[in-house]
Symmetry: C2
Subunit: 231 residues, 2 copies
């Protein structure tokens, strides 16, 4: 990764800044504003690795557009996707020196990135920045705790309902949920096989809870029913 020339990266960074103003509540933007740090941007194609587990954590990332999965593997290939990161989300922030998961682009994805070192240096003297780092990690922990409850307790149908509600909340453009990930990714996120995910979605479709326009374009017809299933 990061094999492009510095000039290319700089150019892309400028372009990105001009075209993609960050949202108002964007913590990363706050950090950069406070610190006067220079962020650059980078593009990854589908399934390209952004960083690997146990690699030195040199950068902190934010999704500009596209989507990212972060996961851990067992030695025999079983995979647990810990999170999906969508536009605006920060990922790859570590307190320690190494990444504790692998990150890959789900589709063509552009990320903003800043050096961990520069962020650290600012955080050493600026309490506000330091607090923001804590807040980012705290948000990840909240998600992880909710997800443990799902993985440890919920049935297949409850997991799929929870997933749909999460995606609906996080990427609702109009009434359509456009999933950037395949059934296998959903399965590895929910602790299920891709077949079980597919069967649950089919069942919800049969019950009229949702409609498909292609396998990844979903319209939720009965949000309350999903909430009920999810408990």
């Amino acid at each position: 990764m990061l094999s492009q020339s510095a000039a290319t990266i700089e150019t892309k960074a400028l372009f990105a800044k001009a075209m993609c103003p960050p949202p108002a509540d964007d913590q990363f933007a706050t950090v950069m504003g406070l610190a006067g740090m220079v962020a650059t941007s980078f593009r990854y194609q589908k399934d390209e690795e952004i960083f690997g587990e146990d690699e030195p954590a040199e950068y902190v990332y934010q999704v500009i557009h596209g989507a990212v999965r972060t996961y851990k593997l067992l030695s025999d290939g079983r995979r647990q996707i810990g999170s999906f990161h969508l536009a605006g989300d920060v990922f790859g922030l570590e307190y320690g020196t190494k990444h504790r998961a692998t990150a890959e682009a789900l589709c063509s994805t552009e990320v903003r990135l800043i050096q961990r070192r520069s962020l650290e240096n600012v955080a050493k003297v600026d309490v506000q920045v330091s607090r923001i780092l804590w807040n980012v990690t705290s948000g990840e922990l909240r998600h992880a705790e909710d997800h443990m409850l799902l993985l440890g307790c919920k049935t297949a149908m409850e997991r799929v309902a929870a997933f749909l509600l999460e995606m609906d909340r996080r990427l609702k453009a109009s009434s359509m949920v456009a999933l950037p990930m395949c059934r296998r990714d959903i399965g590895d996120y929910l602790g299920l096989t891709l077949e079980t995910v597919s069967r649950a979605l089919s069942q919800l479709h049969d019950q009229g809870v949702l409609d498909f326009s292609g396998a990844r374009q979903i319209v939720i017809r009965n949000r309350q029913r999903l909430r009920d299933i999810n408990e």
Copy 2:
């Protein structure tokens, strides 16, 4: 909770300070040293609630002796224990204003506690304290991510092996692991039923991997075998 008189609490705090000097790498002690904050201590009996989910997070806690479980519930009573907190562990630290889990004593337990507000006030001006809060939350996140891998991917036997190795690492006094929690707690931590936990332990016993002196006193005879099972 916290229904004892202020005088009682103060007394107990002093006693605790005299009797229980914190370990050298104790982050909580570091915070208190830096901030000049007054900590007090409190005792809970077996199964007593320390704080409840969604309650205002007024205090941050540290186990002096004993053990604590923190968990989330579904509406029908299914329970996911997120962590066990043993002597020295900090728990109940929130970035937001509410506790996101319930905490209960596993056995007779003494905790040190300090006001969240006073910690916040110090963290607002002291970058070192702010960093420590981030580090504590980051440690919880690391554990949660490892646990998601367990809950999403591992077999019953692998989960139990992982649990034994975790407890061996965290509370090894000599060669004996003295579990403070019952089979149901272990099950709710590992996303299994208590019967499945019991069966896995019996199987490990039959294979000579471990010995019992009573159900909760376990001697690990073949640590490497457990590591192999855990992958």
